[in-house]
Amino acid sequence: MQPAVEFRAISKQFGAVRANADVSFSIAKGSIHGLVGENGAGKSTLMSILYGYYRADSGQILLDGQAQSIRTSQEAIRLGIGMVHQHFMLVENMTVLDNVMLGAEGGFQLAAQRPTVEARLREICARYRLDVDPLATIADLSVGAQQRVEILKQIYRSANILILDEPTAVLTAQETASLFDILRLFKEQGKTIILITHKLQEILDITDTVTVMRGGRVIGAVPTAGTTKEELANMMVGRPIENNLPRAPYHPGAPVLTVDNLQLQDAQQVKLLADIGFTLRAGEIVAVAGVSGNGQSELMEILAGMRLPTSGKLTYLGQELPYGKRHDADGLPLAFRELGIAHVPEDRLRDGVVKSFSVMHNTILGYQDQLKNRWGLFDFKAIAARCAGLMKKFDVRPANGDLRIGLLSGGNQQKVVIAREVLAQPKLMLVGQPTRGVDIGTIESIHTQLLALRDAGVAILLVSVELEEVRALADRILVMCGGRITGELKIEEFDTTRIGLLMGGMHKS
């Protein structure tokens, strides 16, 4: 049978970077094909070429055996290709309906089309068991729901070849499972799916074949049935990956942070956090697990000083945290940093880095007042040296401090952020989604750093939707749902089912 997609010797150069070098492989019709590789391996670039975003410098793409020149996304769409991008391609202030109609309106007058489209959407939602309200506004939807909208768009346009670039990076286990159910349904209908992910378990769970890329090249393409995580990891990174990182025995020290009866309401008096209470000790990692959007982010923001709680008592190393009589949290994070609280924000692109700044300047962010001399000026020689040291220690690639950080891959940006916060020698470290979208090699190195910090006696609060990550790092686990803590487990009690129930709001019983 003709392969649905065939890449023939695709090459693509960005300046000095060979993003794709002589990439050739094919994807069978009606199969789910995995694509894995380190950050910056060239996966997204290849898919962008297929979707008409970029033009390859050389090489050919064949669809059903026909050579196609795909110059624009419009052409790709016409050829039945659909793509769910790593960063959602949705217009946030529009409804689901309008987002689906965008580019496929079916006529000049929207009003004439809307009822028909809406009906079709409802029908599709029912058939594929997609839980989406066509009239909801995107901004009001959870990440998972937005993901479903992206899929919905593709189904509506009856894409035959569906590209998913890291669709699961922001999803919970349940959401991932239901996404995979949909993909299986797709496959049954003879559609072809290309799935990019950094989670090898997912590759094993759902794909038929898998292609591994490294440095822009194809390292190998293997049937999933005959491979293992270890083999894939080895192919990706070029060395074996350690899953069970060594850690010192659990000996928690004195309490570092005590949260008592913390409450948070928004302007409309909706309770975002209710009755939160826990204690965090030196030398332990406490993970907050939960479906995203259940108050974890707010909790982190309050603890980092980025947001004020409505009420509650927060004691840090014996003193009350200085929320004081403030009207807003303007400038508060600085005070918290000075107390020794470091923060790796969940949304690194939004909060954690200034994309247009160099890596070196980003290593100053938040610590600008500590690094200035008495004239208020920076000593850039010293800062460059500091940055170089940091990049070396945390293996940031490329190790060039003058590069704009926006040009680094997500994983490397994350390393810079973590390195910056670790370097401040905090007593309390708040870490949000530290490995989202990061490749397995980098995950390993980030985890190693966090464990080293714990072993050095730092108290770490980790928010993660990845149960794998929680299991790998946590000493204790708090589960949140609906702004409340619904349960607490020791790591020995780790039990996916039980955690799943708690995450769904089944109260401690």
Binding site: S48, Y51, Y53, Y54, T72, S73, Q74, I77, M83, H85, H87, F88, M89, L90, V91, E92, N93, M94, D98, N99, M101, L102, G103, A104, E105, G107, F108, Q109, L110, A111, K153
Partner: protein, 323 residues
């Protein structure tokens, strides 16, 4: 001062007459900015179309040729702006301001070259657009209120006034209920999403600029061949910036923007009426201070009543494929 001193009737008629310059320009800006292109170049386009329409109307003695020529120049400038913003991916503010400055100089130079009247065109005389007298106006003119309403507030304006007011629902419909508008808004909010959905972002933005050019031209034509009857250097006198303000004020939404334009028109008219009048409490406000009334009101309204204005998210950022 009594209520009658306010001459509310006169104020309202004046509001209606003043607003079109702002309405056309603000609606033009709305199209451009909703597509993601900052249109600070409204002023320059108004001025250029005012000059060209006056000059052509004078030369041909036909106002409609003037309107058409004004449209041509305004569209040409909008395309230049589009080329800078869309194809060259240059700084949109710089592009717009460059056009404003260049037009302020060029209209004078050209006007001077052709007419030798100090950057003024000769009077248009019969080549002006005249006011429409609604049928039966004379008959009803004596009926209190209704006569005024029919013959003076609703009737008795130039065609362009009706066009301006008629434009508002049309723009509303196009922006919110047409394919063009959906794509337009998508390009201004998240061009990457629009692109991924198969919308040609550059084309869409050029189209938006085209519409902006057409609409803005009416503003200049109205100024020159309706309101004044000739072109005078720098006669746009900040109308482009005021229109932009009305648009920001209206949160980039057609109806609110329209209300913003009316507000400027209204307070401009009120200001005329209260000049030299003894007001309760404050007494007679000196002439020069009266001039600031519309602007002070705007600041107060912006600071006091309005929620944060939300610009289209991608406003001002050139669209570059790749995230």
């Amino acid at each position: 001062m009594t209520f009658a001193d306010l001459h509310l009737d006169s104020v309202l008629v004046s509001t209606v007459r003043n607003a079109p310059v702002l309405i056309f320009a603000a609606m033009a800006g709305l199209f451009a900015e909703r597509s993601g292109v900052i249109d600070i170049g409204l002023e320059g386009k108004i001025l250029a179309s005012a000059f060209v329409s006056a000059a052509v109307a004078f030369a041909t003695q036909n106002p409609w040729y003037g309107v058409a020529a004004g449209m041509a120049i305004s569209v040409a400038l909008a395309m230049l702006q589009g080329y800078v913003a869309i194809s060259q991916k240059g700084n949109q503010l710089v592009g717009g301001i460059a056009i404003n400055i260049a037009m302020s100089g060029l209209t004078f130079v050209v006007a001077q070259f052709f007419f030798q009247q100090g950057g003024r065109t000769p009077d248009l005389g019969q080549a002006r657009l005249f006011d429409v007298v609604l049928p039966g106006s004379a008959a009803v003119d004596n009926i209190p209120f209704l006569g005024w309403l029919y013959a003076h507030l609703i009737g008795g304006h130039s065609v362009l006034v009706y066009l301006a007011f008629g434009l508002v629902p049309v723009v509303h419909w196009v922006i919110y209920h047409s394919r063009f508008g959906l794509r337009l808004r998508a390009c201004g909010e998240n061009p990457h999403a629009a692109d991924a959905a198969g919308v040609n972002v550059e084309r869409q933005r050029y189209l938006a600029m085209l519409v902006a050019g057409v609409l803005c031209s009416f503003s200049g034509a109205y100024l020159a061949i309706v309101q004044s009857g000739f072109f005078l250097r720098d006669m746009s006198a900040g109308a482009g910036y005021l229109a932009l303000t009305a648009m920001v004020f209206g949160n980039w939404r057609p109806v609110y923007t329209f209300l913003g334009c009316l507000m400027f028109g209204f307070f401009g008219a009120v200001q005329i009426q209260i000049e030299g009048v003894d007001l309760p409490v404050v007494g007679r406000i000196p002439g020069s201070l009266i001039q600031m009334v519309p602007y002070v009101v705007t600041v107060i309204v912006l600071a006091g009543l309005m929620a944060k204005s939300v610009a289209p998210k991608a406003l001002g950022t050139p669209f570059v494929k790749s995230r």
